[in-house]
Assembly symmetry: C2
């Protein structure tokens, strides 16, 4: 948990002052990563939040084997997914969202919701900006 606790829900100062901005930025960088969110969200919608390597590879078209591996490693390192290796032939490895990983889905949904509501405005602003 955190120590300082001046919780003002929407006060911008809270956003900037209260918490280490580097940590926030680090998280957002992770989240902003193309493959990370696709993987987290893919796992989120899979039954049991669990899938093996090849399943994930198929469920995230366009991802290279390399990036799939690297991204999964990072997610594992961050404690967002678990990696379980089964000593079989051929080998089988399953990845699963942790409780921590699932908890991230909630704030993530907040952003997704924001996109649903405001994305058209953003696109409109963009095309308007570009036409000048």
């Amino acid at each position: 948990m955190n120590n300082t606790n001046k919780t003002k829900q929407l006060d911008p100062a809270y956003v900037c002052g209260h918490k280490d901005p580097a940590a926030v930025r680090e998280l957002l960088t992770k989240i902003g990563d193309k493959w990370s969110i696709f993987l987290v969200l893919s796992l989120a919608k899979i039954h049991g939040n669990r899938a093996r390597f090849s399943e994930l590879e198929r469920s995230v078209p366009g991802i290279s084997q390399r990036m799939l591996t690297l991204t999964l490693r990072n997610l594992e390192r961050d404690g967002l997914v678990t990696r379980e290796v089964f000593p079989e032939v051929p080998p089988r490895v399953e990845y699963e969202l942790t409780v921590l990983g699932k908890s991230l889905l909630r704030p993530l949904d907040g952003l997704v919701e924001w996109v649903s509501v405001n994305w058209e405005d953003v696109k409109k602003a963009q095309s308007n900006f570009d036409s000048k």
Copy 2:
């Protein structure tokens, strides 16, 4: 919202039963951008959500002039900030969060909150992972 309901279940990019995945990813990429969030959050905590170029440069330590300019341009293009030039000598330019920009603070705060609560766990997971 409006997009055709051709919900491709197998579309990897399809986000958890939500809208346009590319848009979500695009937003997250923007948000994940180091300087973008720092600028948005800086503006958020400034009185009137308004500041001039040099103020922002000072309030976001480490940002280069180039990135400040580029990032502000992008934010303006996305309709998140406005840019107002005053025909003076020396020139003065002020940037201000738009209503749209401010609305983004709310979901953003959700992530910040998540960091406050879970960041230690993430760090713990990381060091634990690294020590193996």
